[in-house]
Symmetry: D4
Subunit: 222 residues, 8 copies
Amino acid sequence: MDHHTSDLGFARVDIGRQARQGLPEIVYGPGKQDAEIAAIVTTLIARNTGPVLVTRVEAATAAAVHAAVPGGRYDEAARLLTWREADDIGFRVAVVTAGTSDGPVAAEAAAVATALGMRVTEIRDVGVAGIHRLLAETDRLRDADTVIVIAGMEGALASVVGGLVEAPVVAVPTSVGYGAALEGVTALLAMLTSCAAGLTVVNIDSGFGAALAAYRLTRVSA
Amino acid sequence: MDHHTSDLGFARVDIGRQARQGLPEIVYGPGKQDAEIAAIVTTLIARNTGPVLVTRVEAATAAAVHAAVPGGRYDEAARLLTWREADDIGFRVAVVTAGTSDGPVAAEAAAVATALGMRVTEIRDVGVAGIHRLLAETDRLRDADTVIVIAGMEGALASVVGGLVEAPVVAVPTSVGYGAALEGVTALLAMLTSCAAGLTVVNIDSGFGAALAAYRLTRVSA
Amino acid sequence: MDHHTSDLGFARVDIGRQARQGLPEIVYGPGKQDAEIAAIVTTLIARNTGPVLVTRVEAATAAAVHAAVPGGRYDEAARLLTWREADDIGFRVAVVTAGTSDGPVAAEAAAVATALGMRVTEIRDVGVAGIHRLLAETDRLRDADTVIVIAGMEGALASVVGGLVEAPVVAVPTSVGYGAALEGVTALLAMLTSCAAGLTVVNIDSGFGAALAAYRLTRVSA
Amino acid sequence: MDHHTSDLGFARVDIGRQARQGLPEIVYGPGKQDAEIAAIVTTLIARNTGPVLVTRVEAATAAAVHAAVPGGRYDEAARLLTWREADDIGFRVAVVTAGTSDGPVAAEAAAVATALGMRVTEIRDVGVAGIHRLLAETDRLRDADTVIVIAGMEGALASVVGGLVEAPVVAVPTSVGYGAALEGVTALLAMLTSCAAGLTVVNIDSGFGAALAAYRLTRVSA
Amino acid sequence: MDHHTSDLGFARVDIGRQARQGLPEIVYGPGKQDAEIAAIVTTLIARNTGPVLVTRVEAATAAAVHAAVPGGRYDEAARLLTWREADDIGFRVAVVTAGTSDGPVAAEAAAVATALGMRVTEIRDVGVAGIHRLLAETDRLRDADTVIVIAGMEGALASVVGGLVEAPVVAVPTSVGYGAALEGVTALLAMLTSCAAGLTVVNIDSGFGAALAAYRLTRVSA
Amino acid sequence: MDHHTSDLGFARVDIGRQARQGLPEIVYGPGKQDAEIAAIVTTLIARNTGPVLVTRVEAATAAAVHAAVPGGRYDEAARLLTWREADDIGFRVAVVTAGTSDGPVAAEAAAVATALGMRVTEIRDVGVAGIHRLLAETDRLRDADTVIVIAGMEGALASVVGGLVEAPVVAVPTSVGYGAALEGVTALLAMLTSCAAGLTVVNIDSGFGAALAAYRLTRVSA
Amino acid sequence: MDHHTSDLGFARVDIGRQARQGLPEIVYGPGKQDAEIAAIVTTLIARNTGPVLVTRVEAATAAAVHAAVPGGRYDEAARLLTWREADDIGFRVAVVTAGTSDGPVAAEAAAVATALGMRVTEIRDVGVAGIHRLLAETDRLRDADTVIVIAGMEGALASVVGGLVEAPVVAVPTSVGYGAALEGVTALLAMLTSCAAGLTVVNIDSGFGAALAAYRLTRVSA
Amino acid sequence: MDHHTSDLGFARVDIGRQARQGLPEIVYGPGKQDAEIAAIVTTLIARNTGPVLVTRVEAATAAAVHAAVPGGRYDEAARLLTWREADDIGFRVAVVTAGTSDGPVAAEAAAVATALGMRVTEIRDVGVAGIHRLLAETDRLRDADTVIVIAGMEGALASVVGGLVEAPVVAVPTSVGYGAALEGVTALLAMLTSCAAGLTVVNIDSGFGAALAAYRLTRVSA
């Protein structure tokens, strides 16, 4: 076992990630027991200096982990546990949603981005069926260093935003919708074939993935 | 064999369709020999009084059929053969496309609609990556009795148009695009899950289907 | 924020939709809290004059919203909440189902259409395995200004109805069936490839979508 | 190597099939060289007494095999080569198609059935968009001992026929259609989920498979 | 409403089916209320003379319907309710399963076949991983007038049985298996592409469908 | 019934498998009642001499079967019941996982392999996002006679391991992940198209299948 | 028509895109005639000041357009036509491929990026089956401001690179591979579910899309 | 660049693979120019001592490469180019096919295995529709150290063979078949869900992959 890894038996914590990528490993909560999460978090806090995050955590688990590892914060809407959130680095991220049902994914994206030091603006419920709602927000969209567009159903919002701004656009398909929405696959495919050039796409419902993609952008000018 | 049908041996022509649906049977060209098309057309002309159309016909077939059945017209872009086109019935159809590659599907929709007596306005190349191109056409869109929206890739144009007009909107996904466009399946799924309420959808690349759907609309107020 | 939009924080209500499309925004219930629905409904009632509808609402939510916003009506079979239903506009819609299991989708289509002022005739349980059941209803089908055909499994009813009437036909695939029915995808694909010309299709189980498509038709002759 | 098999090196001919199943092995032509087909046919003629068939054979191959193995017959529409066709066994098969494009599949079904001694009635071009065409043939359908229904697109014809007759119905989906027809998959799924009870289905475009299924039926009363 | 149909309001009972197809309409239980099933059954008993069946009925519903319509029988393993089961017509059906998990589908096939007068032999748990288990049953397989083969996972049993017998073989894919079994779709596709000629296939888990297909076979020699 | 089979009525136990394949039949638990499992196990113990295993058994069933058939052992993490585990045969299997969520599948693979006499090394949580974790284990990987690689999401671990070792590599895709992971289908497809030559793949989540594949390898040098 | 658009009849050129997004509209070549491309390019050159690009152009078309619009350059490997390429802006992009077959996609990405002023480093043929090839390039990877990873088959390279660098990573799945590679869909799904956090993905074979995504990144620090 | 890699500019040859995996890198021919193949082969011959293979090479390319690199051998049926084939290592591989159309895949598997020193027995055309053909070969199957089973359509042969032998079985699905065979996907899924325990599967049509998997097996006892 090399010194970039801490082997806890049930998990092999990637201690070297902060050196390699500017950020400690982020813990994916599901499938781990409360005590396992607590042990991993303890290791990460001890062996790194940056922010420590656990995603997709339900309230009961959050309480148990808090009890074991003091100093953390829990955002229930985002299902996010954090310790040592980063200071504001001045990088502006707009988190835009098509509808109110996309809210939980947006909450995760916003909370992760905030915890990593980004300055988040949320622009909600601007789906293209009432295009004036989006156009009225053009200036705020253009002020952002990057835009995260979150939409389910046909995901058309990503294409329209992609044509309005020059900043990087990260599209997040959501599983909102029914029938032919195919649990987010339709929005995913639609975003990948967007007529707006230079969009990029992350996995369905992955607010976390979009925030991390934005974090990588902050390293460009770092 | 009933008197609503004319049995040509190789085909059973639905003579009763004009009485039932206001329009003679429309012939689908592919898979039929030139002589078969000519015989079917001859029967339809003799046994009905309305317009007679053959779709998806290549130029060589068109010439052969014209030689056998005089008085027809051929639209090469639309691959459509017609006899006895209908007089203008004053019903206004807007045929809107996202990009130039959607042209052949639009040509079929426009030519079929025209042959059935509709007044067609074409609004081309107004894909949502430059949304101002579409918004500049809002008045012309709102003037139409029905709007046919034709788009490939992610098909987002249908949702935006669907939110701008109150008229019926028939969305036609096209096989334009590559990779995740899945030969039109992505646009099809996207249009079916549009956030704009009350859109309806026809088969991939079916300009013909959209025109016929529009024709049915003309019967509402007939 | 423009005057066509009312920003409630958690939602951005499209106040301008009635002016643009003749109808206030219709609220999709799932994923919204009771208080949020009540606030949106209150806004729509205050800022528009037309009918206000909330779809896919369970009984408990309906009761809570009724308590907050008086004057509404709840149709449990259709899961629909309404205020200020429209007066009869004389437009006749036939809602046709293949089997009794398609009932809930038909209830939604019929209730939405009625709330928007259409005159609805329901023709139930006329699947094509006993074709005489459908043929016996031919006259009622032909009397309608538009026909909504609702079927699961193989969805063949849409093709047969499409060949019997000249009016617009909106086909709604349902998720009725098992195995190769693929939760409605088979019926959806079948309806999109119908041999009956000019059918249009909406999303799986979307009685709402079909009713809105019918509503758009009423605007043609308006 | 047992005596039920003849090993030609490049192929292992199932000599025992006639004893086991009442019929010599039927040869699938594609992927075999002319000389290989000739050798297999020669073996089957020598070691069995029943009809010998080769399916999906193009004209040039047919000529080459005829030159090598005299006494055969070639049906170009059916792409079928036969030797020693069976005498009429009085079993009546109706081969029904939805449209003219389904013709080649019907030709294969009819030719194979005829070569195996069945009495074939063809009922063509009775797709459900003009349901009267089918109903006019009800008596001929009911006269058959079994009905093979061949249809592409949405395949609805199978359901309607399935509800009209009491005989076994074998449904053959075809690859006729485009877009959402998915090269026959839509018709296949639709036929498998038919609302008419007791239909059975074979592979896409498999006129051969349907004829063999019919042949098995002849053994029931044999 | 014609005299072949009895309209109960919530359902349109196909009274004419016995005349058309030798068998009263069979009722699909799911989605119907106990009282509705009872009313339909009462109608079928009154207006037809043949066996009356309701499929996919849970025990509680069975009890409730029994209370309302006396004289019925309930087979819990098959989830089948019957009245007036048919006398033995001497037609021998073998119901063959690959594994014990296919049991419920086999139970439905066997119970429906028995209720319609067929003589059923069950041959269980003869999956091809131990091929001697199947070969030891060859004689019993060959004694049957028709064979219903029920298998999940890769469904290979159908191909092997198809090559052993000359009688009609109806293959029923089941949803047994996990992962790449895709809830029965893999077995379905495999059975449709079987190398054994003349197999036919019904929907996933449809023991009912296979029994009805067998019933149609009994009409051939009737 | 031949002497290689024991017919228990509800199941046909393949007594001959040990002679044919060196190992008694392994019982798949789901869908069988406790008493059925106990009876099958009793038969296998009586009629074979090798290890007897039941997979995918929940704790309550394990207790019930233990009560009926003494001498067994239950591994709850692996959901495995065993009797007469094999002695160590010296064959070294490395079981490698990408993440902690792949644990249950690894537990099944390891427990089955151990029960069949293999010597198992577990190397956990070495997903490729921190490639040094894997490279640090290269020597242990190369020491194994075969490597089982277990990964969900994109399954990339299999390709990297496949390029590091010369031993047989059996890849097991897991259903870990969400959205585009498609419940394991993505990892399955990725492993099948690995750029590392000579990998083989088993079904999603099938730790059992991988262990049995490894067992077959032990027979090569036996 | 607004002043941001130039309507050429067959196309509606988005003149305003440079002002909105820092870059003139980029022309997608397929489906456009040579003269149409020349006219669009002429318009873009006249009405904007930035680089003008046409993608997916075959050599014959390139020659024809060059004849009509002087001053351009053609990169045959990249199938790219350019006028007024941008000066070096100092932004470093690494274009990394898994195998030689990914070359054409890499060529497009590199040529587009270069034409837009980026400084491109190509790192070819470092697929993960020989992981040392990639690790030997770690320093060059870490020097880049962004990394474009291009891979077909299982696309595992993206995950490994994603774990090695902190810069933004844009993954491009390619259609390289056969069978289960599903023409790039497998690589696409795998990249979307990568275990490396913060990867983003573009459409299959879209070297262009990746370069444009990189271009958007250059605007962050602009 | 490390000494395990030889960088030819257009390709990065993995010189270290023989040391790591006992075998030089095997070259995949498609997409490489004749001169590129020749250069890679020259490098592999110079820098390794083992056999050098190029797969999927057409005859014209083979001739051109032979001219540039003397001493090679070309197997046209297998589309394989080899230099320095290995001596017989005594490892017995049975290559079994279901039908004659599976021949080309079998040829590739056999030729690659032979070139790597394995002793190959071919057992052709033993598809399960005539199960006696396979059973007659049981002894030869059981003599093999490993069995490669090659089958298209429903791929059932793999399951039956898997139950007959105790050796490792590598299943290769082929794209033989039409319609529901889905170009090999059906056989692939069927083999992955085989009821025979411990089968492993490689990509569609990958005779090469199966031979390499067999090669890895030879290392177990090496």
